[in-house]
């Protein structure tokens, strides 16, 4: 036993010192071990983001530019043909990425801001405030979401702003529940009590003591909620109450071109046209889910197959 001193010293007690790693190094290590599904998801998301950001440079034609040829076939000047009033479908797909993803992202962020902060407040204060908020959320969740959204959109009119607000509020109920339930187990920790005893304000306890400890499930939920918001917007657009023309959006593109399916026996590509925006929606949803799965797996600390 030459490697360890016999005399007692507090600093020499064995603690498990982790190597100092920046988050970039951690990301590299985790990416190296990432499964194919996660890689697939990451690449798809990266492509979508690239397309969304550089839409004006990538699109061959304008977003709402109308050409004399309506229902033009695939190929030639129009890669995926044109729609019922002669707009280039390929260009609209590219602009659609920007609109649909952008609006979904803004909505998800807003719903997290609302649901997250209220959930934290409910968990910390407990008592009647917690009861009030939780029961109100129960009431909101008891009403079927899509129908409620449709009703509210008819009342407030379907502008992009009201679309974002309404979906964010309706979706924040689920964020509220998640935040509240994960916070409740952190709130009982001694370090939160220590902060209260120190005299810290509610905001500080929320931001510094609790939030960092509940981030992993919240980030994972962010990915999932984004997928659902994205699907809700697409669904509303398909029903005609979402993003309004001439703004390009995948949901309304499916609706506008849905009738082309019946021409499958004459021209297969024409029938495929409404499938493309639908496929774009599906692909992104799947990709986000893959990445979220992988992220949850890492952060839950499950160390399998050793």
């Amino acid at each position: 036993m030459t490697d360890t001193p016999q005399a007692y010293s507090a600093a020499a007690e064995i603690g498990q010192i982790r190597e100092r790693r920046t988050w970039i190094q951690i990301a590299k290590i985790e990416l190296k071990k990432a499964p194919y599904s996660a890689w697939f998801g990451l690449i798809v998301i990266a492509i979508y983001l690239f397309v969304a950001i550089f839409a004006p440079l990538l699109a061959p034609h304008g977003e709402a530019e109308i050409f004399p040829a309506s229902f033009a076939p695939w190929g030639g000047d129009f890669v995926f043909g044109t729609d019922q009033i002669g707009r280039d479908i390929f260009s609209r797909l590219i602009y659609g990425a920007r609109n649909t993803i952008g609006i979904a992202l803004a909505t998800t962020l807003l719903s997290f801001a609302i649901g997250g902060s209220l959930g934290l407040i409910a968990a910390i204060s407990g008592g009647w405030l917690d009861q009030l908020l939780s029961r109100f959320v129960d009431v909101l969740m008891a009403i079927p979401g899509l129908i409620f959204a449709l009703m509210l959109l008819t009342i407030f009119g379907s502008s992009i702003l009201s679309l974002i607000m309404i979906i964010a509020v309706l979706d924040s109920t689920r964020v509220f529940r998640l935040t509240r339930s994960v916070s409740v187990s952190v709130v009982v920790m001694d370090y939160v009590e220590a902060a209260k005893l120190r005299g810290e304000k509610l905001g500080w306890i929320m931001r510094r003591e609790i939030l960092p400890n509940i981030m992993p499930p919240l980030i994972a939920e962010f990915g999932l909620r984004f997928s659902f918001v994205f699907l809700t917007i697409a669904a509303l657009s398909f029903l005609g109450l979402g993003i309004q023309p001439p703004t390009a959006d995948w949901g309304s593109m499916v609706r506008d071109n849905a009738s082309m399916i019946q021409f499958a026996k004459y021209d297969l590509t024409a029938a495929l046209t409404p499938m493309i925006p639908a496929g774009a929606i599906a692909l992104l949803t799947v990709a986000v889910n893959f990445v979220v799965d992988w992220f949850l797996h890492i952060t839950s600390g499950l160390n399998d197959e050793h």
Binding site: M1, T4, Q6, Y8, S9, A10, A11, E13, I14, G15, Q16, I17, R18, E19, I29, M189, D190, Y191, E193, A194, K196, L197, R198, G199, E200, R208, E209, P212, N213, N303, H306
Partner: protein
């Protein structure tokens, strides 16, 4: 008496040069670095050492089992002629629970809450078709009786939550004993229990192990306990064996320096100093949870400045509740708390920053008392910033100064709590309390989760700090050795009421009130005959 598979004195378990690795932080670490162990039938071996020494890992390895993330890399574990390292899962499973049994530290977590105790007790016997259900159940009731469980005929019909912690621990011993195993592994079975309960469990376990001539591995960090239970003691440190000897020989003349240092820990004793300068007094306090469950009855405690008042009593006696009343987390129904001659507001939110700063608290479990996402610098730095408005270099210097005061160096500055040992964590919690410049610190069982040697370090540190800064401690504990080491005055609490308060020498010397007597009697001593004498005495 011979067991069904062999006679006393035969070798039952032989571990040769066993090595175990554990996986963490992307690497394999050596946990056990080559240990030999030989256990004969009917023999009880005590495995002792501080946390991280590999006691539990070795205990589990003797069943041929490793926790997930660990693997046996070398060596053999021969149990009754069969090597468990190379044995198949099925072969091992047929031994586990029937010929090798395991009694875990937390009995509450080891029972299925949805099944009656009797069914769980006989489960292993029935699964292996050792005996019929009627016979097994009759035998279980007999075991309950021998373990001195109340109402042995019917207690098995209860569910785990319907019996106390000490009863549940004995119930688990009955469960382990039911198929009459050749070997039982006790993994810190009494650590979570009160001293008064611990004695009952120890007596019962020792009697039953002796009666059925079962071999046992008894894992603990409490030397006094192991002295009562074991025939031989093996001391482990850093995954290696330090020494092994007969219990009596080991207690009388330990060979290695490390063992000697373990033995000397309990000798720490503070000379009491009376004082009449009262800094904080609790006056006629009644307190209740949810306005109905009354837990404190007319509590009066006076704490002199610059001294240590130890509050002793078993769990549920109202020790921690008293602390919550002082800190303002639980406003009293009746009575008040006076601090420096002035009455403190009952509610936390009505207290001034100055009042909060002067009363600090250190918790039992340093693990949950520090935010795992903050570095040590942030944890210690926050009170400096909050109470004293320090920032930048000033704050950094003061944090380093505080680290030095708690005998840690600057390499700890940007570590996270998970990178510290238990003792180091508790030191950081002390530094956080010190950072506020308090007049009184409430210590709630701050050493009870720590190893003896680490405990001694923390107690010495607290004493030094008291000497240097004239800090007052209210020290909540159930450990009489700790009380001896640190206190000037003692408050004995029982069922929410103060039994007596006085100077240490007064409380410790007879005559005692009945409860104090029981409490003092229950503290294990380093004498291997202590338990035997106690049983006779009763």
């Amino acid at each position: 008496m011979s067991t069904k598979h062999g006679k006393k004195g035969d070798i039952l378990l032989e571990m040769k040069d066993i090595r175990i690795d554990g996986f963490s932080d992307e690497r394999w670490h050596k946990i056990i670095k080559g240990i030999d162990l030989t256990l004969h039938r009917g023999e009880v071996m005590g495995l002792i050492g501080e946390s991280g020494a590999g006691k539990s890992t070795l205990g589990l390895a003797s069943m041929g089992f490793t926790k997930p993330g660990c693997k046996i890399t070398f060596g053999s574990v021969v149990f009754d002629g069969k090597d468990l390292v190379t044995a198949s899962e099925d072969e091992k499973r047929s031994l586990w629970g029937t010929r090798i049994a395991y009694v875990a530290q937390s009995a509450a977590a080891s029972f299925n809450p949805a099944h009656r105790l009797l069914n769980q007790t006989v489960e292993a016997s029935l699964n292996q078709n050792l005996q019929s259900r009627d016979l097994a159940e009759a035998d279980a009731r007999n075991l309950y009786k021998q373990l001195q469980l109340p109402d042995p005929e019917n207690i098995g019909d209860r569910y785990p939550h319907q019996v106390s912690g000490g009863q549940l621990q004995r119930m688990m011993t009955a469960m382990a004993m039911s198929p009459r195993p050749d070997l039982i592994i006790f993994d810190e079975p009494t650590t979570a229990l009160d001293v008064t309960t611990q004695v009952e469990v120890l007596v019962a376990m020792r009697a039953i192990v002796e009666k059925f001539n079962t071999a046992a591995l008894y894992i603990t960090h409490d030397l006094a306990v192991v002295a009562q239970m074991a025939d031989i003691i093996k001391v482990l440190r850093y995954g290696k064996e330090v020494e092994e000897a007969d219990t009596r020989k080991m207690l009388k003349s330990p060979k290695e320096e490390y063992t000697k240092s373990l033995w000397s820990v309990r000798a720490l004793e503070k000379a009491e100093a009376p004082s009449d300068d009262i800094i904080l007094s609790i006056n006629n306090v009644d307190a209740a949870y949810n306005g109905s469950l009354k837990v404190l009855h007319d509590v009066n405690i006076r704490i002199p400045r610059g001294r240590t008042v130890a509050v002793v009593g078993e769990s549920g006696s109202g020790k921690s509740t008293t602390a919550r009343v002082i800190t303002g987390l639980l406003p009293p129904m009746v009575g008040n708390v006076e601090f420096n001659g002035k009455t403190l507001p009952a509610e936390l939110k009505d207290r001034t920053k100055d009042q909060l700063q002067r009363i600090q608290m250190i918790y039992q479990s340093a693990d949950t008392a520090m935010n795992p996402r903050q570095t040590i610098a942030e944890i210690i730095g926050r009170p400096l910033e909050f109470y004293h408005g320090l920032s930048g270099m000033q704050k950094q210097d003061r944090v380093l100064e505080l680290l030095k005061m708690i005998e840690l160096d600057e390499s700890f500055y940007d570590r996270f709590p998970s990178e510290l040992s238990g003792g180091q964590k508790q030191r950081v919690c002390i530094a956080r309390a010190l950072a506020a410049d308090p007049e009184i610190i409430i210590c709630d069982e701050v050493t009870s989760a720590l190893d003896q040697i680490v405990q001694e370090g923390i107690l010495k540190l607290l004493l030094n700090l008291q000497k240097d800064y004239n800090i007052t401690y209210l020290f909540i504990t159930h450990d009489i050795a700790v009380v001896n080491a640190i206190s000037d005055e003692i408050v004995v609490m029982y069922q929410g009421a103060v039994i007596e308060q006085g100077l240490k020498s007064e409380i410790m010397s007879p005559p005692h009130p009945e409860y104090t007597q029981l409490l003092l009697n229950s503290v294990p001593e380093m004498d291997p005959d202590w338990l035997t004498k106690l049983v006779k005495f009763r």
